[in-house]
Structure formats: C-alpha cells, structure tokens
C-alpha cells in the first residue's frame, strides 16, 4: 500500500563502499517496560518471539529477530525490514500495555562490519576492549564511536559486528568507518 520503499539515510550523500561493511535494512523498535511490568513483558516476548529479553551487556536472537539491551528495562528489537510498522504493531500487541513501544525503523540505521581486521577498525574510535576474552558473540554495548552514539553487538567470532546508529549520523559514521577500514580493504 505504500507508494515508496523507504530510503536509506545512506542514500542522502554518497559514501564509498567497503568489502567489510554492509547496511542491514531493518525494522527496529524500542520497547521499555512500564514501571513494575518488566516480568510481564519478558514473559510476553518469550511467548511471542521465543527469546529471553537479555540482561545488560547482551543481546538475544531468535530466528531473525534480535533484542538488545540498551537501557534499564529497555531493549531494541530488530528484524529484517518487513511491512511498514509491522514489528512495532506486533510488539504493541504482545506487550499488551506492559511496555512503551516506539518504532525506530527509520530513526536508526543498522550496519554490519565483519572480518578479521574488524576489531582493529573499531579500535580507531571505540573505547571498549573488544578482545575475545572481554567481548564476544552474544555481547552488546551502547557506546559512542568517533563522536557518534552507537549500539554495538557481536554476532559471531568471524568476528562480525553489527552497529546501530541514529539515522542522521549514519553518513558521518559510515565515512569514519570506511576511512578506518581503508587500510584493510584487501585483507578482510
């Protein structure tokens, strides 16, 4: 019913491509438990999505749905982009009043960074210790990177990471990321 496919914020100005980096068009929804309703929310999400809302510093995935802890009793739920607003509506129904649900599918941009050199790329702006002993698959963090607020999660041990940033920052963020990855263009 929608006339246009949503545009990516990365189309607003050209950013050079890099083999380690790809955008993941997604539906992204912010859900925050209402006061005293975190338990209800967790149960409802478990029943509907088959995933446990993760504790701080982690994300949980079930099928192609991912939930990342971002603030106390608040998660970012992500899935591949589907019908406009569908994920948010499903979460509203699931939460049934136990959470405040906010669609961020357009407000946030999700990017994948993968390859052996990925930690070295991120070290140019990320202040977290990404050594495997400190940060591995299943872990997530909200942390600024090169002046841009980001959600970082490690998908697997490739290592492959996903980064979620505010859409209006997507271009400068990608510019920094591709710049930082330039020296590894051939070695990913």
């Amino acid at each position: 019913m929608c006339a246009a496919e949503p545009r990516s914020p990365l189309s607003v100005v050209a950013v050079p491509a890099h083999p380690m980096i790809a955008e993941l068009p997604s539906a992204i929804v912010d859900i925050a438990a209402r006061r005293g309703r975190a338990g209800d929310l967790a149960a409802a999400i478990r029943a509907e999505f088959g995933l446990d809302l993760p504790p701080p510093g982690r994300f949980a995935a079930s099928g192609d749905t991912t939930a990342v802890w971002i603030r106390p009793e608040t998660w970012l739920v992500m899935a591949p982009r589907g019908a406009e607003g569908a994920l948010a509506r499903r979460l509203v129904e699931t939460a049934a009043g136990a959470a405040s649900v906010v669609d961020q599918s357009h407000g946030k941009t999700r990017v994948r960074l993968a390859g052996a050199a990925a930690p070295r790329v991120l070290a140019k702006g990320c202040r977290l210790d990404l050594h495997p002993a400190q940060f591995g698959p299943g872990q997530a963090a909200v942390t600024p990177m090169a002046q841009v607020g980001a959600v970082l999660l490690q998908r697997d041990a490739t290592p492959a990471y996903e980064l979620v940033v505010g859409s209006s920052y997507a271009v400068p963020f990608l510019e920094w990321l591709t710049d930082s990855a330039a020296e590894f263009a051939g070695t990913h």
Partner: protein, 91 residues
C-alpha cells in the same frame, strides 16, 4: 581519563559520561521558598576530598550514575544507581 563503573554497563571511560554535579543536594518541596531553592540550585559544599556526584552515562545507558570520587586524587571509591546511598570513605 576517569574510568567509571556504570552499574549497568560496567567500567567505561569518562568520555562516555557527562558530569552533572553534586548528588547530595535534593530538590526541596515546591512550597519550600526561595531560600531553600537557592541552596538547592546554588550553594555547594565543594569539598576537597570525597565527593558524591552525578555522572550521566549519556553515551551509554543514559542513566544518572552516582559516583563517590576524590576531588584531589581522582580516585573512585564506588558507583551506584540513582537511589543507592553509597558509603563515603573517611579521609
């Protein structure tokens, strides 16, 4: 660069936080009058020593973290959530 142990996110660099001042002052009741609000907004103990203060984890979980920090040595004795009352070491 201070290293602040956010009760939710774990130890993070100062760069992720915004300092938000003395955490011991409390907002008075709305009818407490100008003097009470003057104290709340303006006057500060400003100790040289241990100081309980707010650091907003603006780049992370966006929580106001309570931090007990020494204003001379920049040592951090403890951190907690907004509602926690943190022990303040003796000088």
């Amino acid at each position: 660069m201070h290293r602040i142990d956010c009760p939710w996110c774990g130890p993070r660099d100062e760069a992720e936080f915004a300092y938000r001042g003395d955490a011991t002052v409390r907002r008075p009741a709305h009818d407490a009058g100008i003097d009470a609000f003057y104290d709340y907004v303006y006057t500060r103990a400003n100790p040289r020593g241990w100081h309980t203060e707010w650091w907003h984890h603006a780049g992370g979980c966006r929580q106001f973290v309570k931090v007990v920090r020494h204003t001379m040595t920049h040592e951090i004795a403890g951190t907690g959530k907004a509602g926690d009352s943190l022990p303040v070491p003796a000088e």
